[in-house]
């Protein structure tokens, strides 16, 4: 079956590969330019580009095979994607116990609620050829939001250990001592998506709209549909960012209200830690 598909698409694939080669050449030129300024991303870019290409060819093949699958198959694919997204996002929180599960819950909740809502309202059909690509966009954005929240929360908390512990020492609830950093982390996950929504159509015409127009849909409906997708991306990101931040907050303290999320706790004794704390901003 795959061979047959490949035969049919042979000319497309050859052309695609040639275009991909062109894209790689441009990336390589940028990498060389960066090198001149002592920014060394050669190895990472090469690995990322190779991985990206292989993964996309593989996805194309899988989709070609599964194009006629049912809702269950679609749901399983999205679940696998959510898991992969959780693995990626949780790399930012390797030293936090159970970070993979935290990320998984957050991404699954964010994208799950939104995708279910879109299916229920008919914005999204159970057709696997629509469900998987649109779902993947939502999951990918929930993943980014999750990673951004983790990164921001960790950075803020580890930079304000002194103030947080000053609050704890005054008998404050742990939640009160990190409230500003919870806000910051959730906001950080939403900001890029808010900009996306604001600049929709002005700065960029996203892929879904372009694709729908290419396949003959009305430009107005394509535009409205694209707006819905971006709004749903914002919703999924907000839920994922909020949930992962709240879960991180719970993990940042012990049962006895002691701050356990600290910079290099394993390497530094509290004595030296106290001296390395930055002054409050």
């Amino acid at each position: 079956m795959i061979a047959e598909l490949l035969n049919n698409l042979n000319s497309d694939i050859v052309m695609g590969m040639a275009q991909a080669a062109g894209a790689i050449v441009l990336c390589a030129a940028v990498v060389l330019l960066c090198r001149r300024f002592a920014v060394h991303v050669e190895r990472e870019t090469a690995i990322s580009a190779a991985r990206g290409l292989v993964q996309m060819v593989f996805v194309g093949l899988v989709l070609a095979v599964l194009l006629h699958g049912n809702l269950l198959v679609g749901a399983l694919i999205l679940l696998a994607m959510t898991f992969a997204a959780a693995v990626t996002a949780s790399r930012r929180a390797r030293d936090i116990k159970g970070s993979l599960l935290l990320s998984f819950y957050a991404i699954a909740a964010g994208s799950g609620v939104v995708i279910a809502g879109m299916l229920a309202t008919g914005t999204l059909t159970a057709d696997i050829a629509v469900l998987v690509p649109v779902g993947s966009m939502i999951i990918a954005n929930a993943m980014n939001a999750c990673a951004q929240s983790i990164e921001r929360f960790r950075a803020d908390v580890t930079a304000h250990v002194g103030q947080i512990e000053a609050g704890l020492a005054l008998g404050a609830d742990p939640g009160v001592t990190v409230a500003p950093y919870v806000q910051g982390a959730v906001y950080a996950s939403l900001l890029p998506r808010l900009d996306m929504l604001k600049s929709l159509g002005l700065v960029w015409i996203p892929g879904v709209m372009a694709g729908m127009m290419v396949s003959g849909a009305s430009p107005i409906y394509a535009g409205i549909y694209q707006f819905i997708i971006v709004a749903m991306i914002l919703a999924a990101s907000g839920i994922a960012g909020l949930i992962v931040t709240l879960l991180m907050r719970a993990r940042a303290f012990s049962a006895a209200a002691q701050l356990t999320l600290r910079p290099g706790e394993r390497q530094q004794a509290p004595d030296r830690l106290a001296k390395s704390m930055p002054s409050p901003s």
């Binding site: 020492a169 008998g171 004595d271 001296k275």
Partner: protein
């Protein structure tokens, strides 16, 4: 309150920070903890209000194991002033009112004014904390801790970031407040002269272990 440590220890990943320390501090008494950098002075102090968890032994307050108290209540009763003031962004008054607000109590303006007067900051209520000198910030930090009406006061090198004049001012202030309120006080310092000036008794720590403890004049005779 009587504050007593019983075989208090803390080890983090094979590194012994505090090892088997048993001492008792009485109300109205000032105990200084001195020793070289990395001796575990701050680590010891952080165990006394349970900012860190002991890995061995415990602390008793008036004979009662402090783990029986909710950490938030414990920390209101055993106040702490850190090396840096770590004030919260906003006004001086909001900082002073922070502790009581955590248990639903609102300080009246005259209570805030009286706390600020006590630390020598008359009329500072509406000042923004970003415009304070180091000495003033540390005084606000002290007033903020006193607002909880703690029975014990822990001080972690409270004057090490200050100039001599400000440091002496804070020392005198702490000493008079401790005497007046009969607080149990433990102060970490790397400065033997400071220990001489304010501590009734002094303990010397080295590598997390208690080397000696006794009246300051005897313990620090040669220092």
């Amino acid at each position: 309150m009587t504050l007593e440590t019983k075989h208090l220890s803390r080890t983090v990943v094979d590194r012994v920070l505090v090892s088997d320390i048993s001492v008792q501090v009485q109300p109205g008494e000032v105990l200084a903890v001195v020793g070289p950098s990395g001796a575990g002075k701050s680590s010891f102090l952080r165990l006394l209000n349970r900012l860190d968890e002991p890995t061995g032994g415990t602390v008793c307050l008036n004979g009662r194991d402090y783990r029986e108290l909710a950490p938030r209540e414990l920390r209101r009763r055993v106040g702490m002033v850190m090396q840096m003031a770590y004030l919260f962004p906003g006004t001086v008054a909001a900082n002073v009112a922070f502790g009581p607000r955590q248990c639903g109590e609102r300080l009246r303006p005259e209570q805030i004014a009286s706390l600020l007067d006590r630390v020598g900051l008359f009329g500072y209520q509406e000042r923004d904390v970003s415009n304070l000198s180091g000495g003033e910030a540390q005084r606000v930090s002290l007033a903020r801790t006193l607002a909880n009406a703690p029975e014990a006061l822990l001080l972690d090198e409270p004057t090490s970031a200050l100039d001599d004049v400000s440091a002496r001012g804070i020392e005198d202030l702490v000493l008079s407040i401790v005497r007046e309120r009969r607080m149990t006080c433990v102060i970490v310092t790397h400065n033997a002269v400071q220990a001489h000036r304010i501590a009734d008794r002094t303990m010397i720590l080295e590598a997390g272990k208690l080397v000696t403890i006794g009246p300051t004049k005897e313990v620090l005779r040669d220092r």
